[in-house]
């Protein structure tokens, strides 16, 4: 594992953890807690992370087969002869 990669991974993890800690301790003014009965808007279909899991799976699978990057949103991926 290269030093460059290890350093970047450690930095990004630290950044994420810091963001979480910051939000929980110091960002409360930016967040408005929403009670369960107030979540009608958040539960709308147009607010879904992925409204269609199977389409997300296909897209993830295609991009995985055509690009070097791994990970991210999307469903499962499997083997593919699309080379």
């Amino acid at each position: 594992m290269s030093t460059r990669w290890r350093g970047l991974a450690r930095g990004a993890s630290l950044l994420l953890c810091s963001a979480v800690a910051l939000c929980s301790l110091g960002c409360k003014s930016l967040l408005t807690p929403v009670s369960p009965w107030e979540r009608e808007t958040l539960s709308r279909p147009d607010m879904a992370w992925e409204s269609d899991r199977m389409l997300s799976s296909i897209r993830s699978h295609v991009f995985y087969s055509k690009e070097a990057a791994r990970g991210g949103a999307g469903g499962s991926g499997g083997g593919c002869g699309c080379n």
């Binding site: 970047l8 994420l16 107030e38 958040l42 147009d46 607010m47 991210g72 499962s76 593919c80 002869g81």
Partner: protein, 406 residues
């Protein structure tokens, strides 16, 4: 003919949970896992047609085929309630693939790289089966997954475990998980192509941790980091490399460590009855590849029954350390690949999909139709690309699905 670089464990834990972990809100629509056990039995079918553009004849070696891959995919998904706190998922995918594929790149007139394609149109079939068991608690969920993916020359077994924990009346959710994949490849036609190995194995592991946070009643954000490790035979047995005037087997390091960081944001604009979707992913690995992915979409709701969702995606990647279109001499460490997927390039895709959900009697229906166009090229990459790989691909994907829950 299968590309091991393109292989992926069925039911990747990290990929699956990155969708489900975010849905830590009661009643949040979507086909990924919700926050409580399914109450209805659901059956969904999807069909996809994928077709690559022919490769430009000016980019291929004389006599090489120009037609590329076509793939038809059939998917089935089942949600099965088991008890008040347990439900089951089942996924089946079957693909039929045909077309010519890139084999290696050689120097043409003036040293310009030209792609050599496979001589014959291949026909292949892939079957991918995965399942999951979900246990729901008052403050979270635990999911166990398992799967099998198989082709005539390839077998992958996978599994994983993930969990979600809610806080602050589910305003905040923490998700984490881990998964593995054990792959075996037995390339075909090894007598005819002696550079291909007889049999190879590889392993893959991934872990992730993510957090989703409601910002207010109109907005939510999610951020997830994941680490992936691959080890064993990571080369592509069906690809070769032009090194010092000779064709040699594609050769990649026996380990790969990757890191990805995905952040997603959703914001509803009540005046327009639609929502903004913004996703960004950073990827880094120790093969020297850095990539950025940005995807934007606008989900327009019509009469609360139909959603029209146009989207655009931008992708850019740097090259692997051991990549070149071809090599004038052998590399110091012996690693070399001319696979376009390890080359520097960028890609822009745009798409549109329409979704609808409606009840008829006791059945809840959901339907979707979508189209996406993907164009890749060296000119789309961040940074100058000295020598574009001639095998870069562009394609169209058309897909539709129908689900009934009862």
């Amino acid at each position: 003919m299968a590309a091991t670089e393109g292989k992926r464990k069925a039911g990747s834990t990290a990929l699956r949970a990155l969708t489900s972990g975010a849905l830590a809100l009661p009643g949040l629509a979507g086909s990924a896992r919700a926050d409580s056990a399914a109450e209805l039995f659901a059956l969904e079918y999807a069909f996809s047609w994928y077709q690559e553009d022919d490769i430009d004849s000016s980019l291929v070696a004389p006599g090489s085929a120009t037609e590329r891959m076509k793939i038809q995919s059939h998917q089935i998904h089942i949600d099965k309630p088991w008890s008040g706190r347990v439900d089951l998922d089942f996924d089946l995918m079957q693909e039929v693939m045909s077309g010519a594929s890139p084999i290696f790149v050689e120097p043409g007139p003036g040293g310009k790289p030209q792609q050599v394609m496979s001589g014959a149109t291949i026909q292949e079939q892939r079957t991918d089966i995965s399942s999951a068991v979900n246990f729901y608690f008052d403050t979270g969920r635990i999911t166990g997954t398992g799967g099998v993916s198989t082709e005539n020359d390839y077998l992958a077994l996978s599994g994983g475990l993930e969990g979600v924990k809610h806080f602050n009346q589910k305003n905040t959710s923490l998700s984490m998980g881990a998964g593995f994949s054990l792959d075996t490849i037995k390339p075909v036609d090894t007598d005819e192509f002696p550079l291909r190995p007889e049999k190879e194995n590889r392993e893959g592991y991934d872990v992730f941790v993510g957090i989703s946070q409601i910002i207010n009643e109109f907005a939510i954000v999610e951020s997830t980091v994941s680490y992936q490790r691959g080890s064993g035979y990571l080369s592509d047995p069906y690809k070769e490399v032009f090194v010092g005037g000779n064709r040699v087997a594609d050769s990649r390091p026996e380990a790969r460590n990757g890191f990805s960081w995905l952040t997603r944001y959703r914001h509803h604009v009540d005046l327009l009855k639609g929502s903004v979707h913004a996703d960004y992913r950073l990827y880094l690995d120790d093969w020297g590849i850095t990539s950025h992915t940005l995807e934007l979409a606008w989900a327009q709701s019509l009469w609360d029954v139909v959603q029209i969702i146009p989207s655009v995606r931008y992708y850019t990647q740097s090259q692997a350390n051991f990549y070149a279109p071809y090599f004038d001499q052998a590399t110091d460490d012996g690693y070399a690949s001319s696979d376009y997927r390890l080359s520097p390039f960028g890609a822009i895709s745009w798409g549109v999909r329409a979704e609808t959900q409606f009840p008829t009697g006791q059945i809840q229906w959901r339907g979707r139709i979508s189209y996406e166009r993907y164009d890749s090229g060296a000119s789309y990459a961040i940074g100058k690309v000295a020598t574009p790989n001639p095998g870069l691909v562009s394609f169209n994907v058309i897909s539709f699905s129908l689900m009934g829950a009862f």
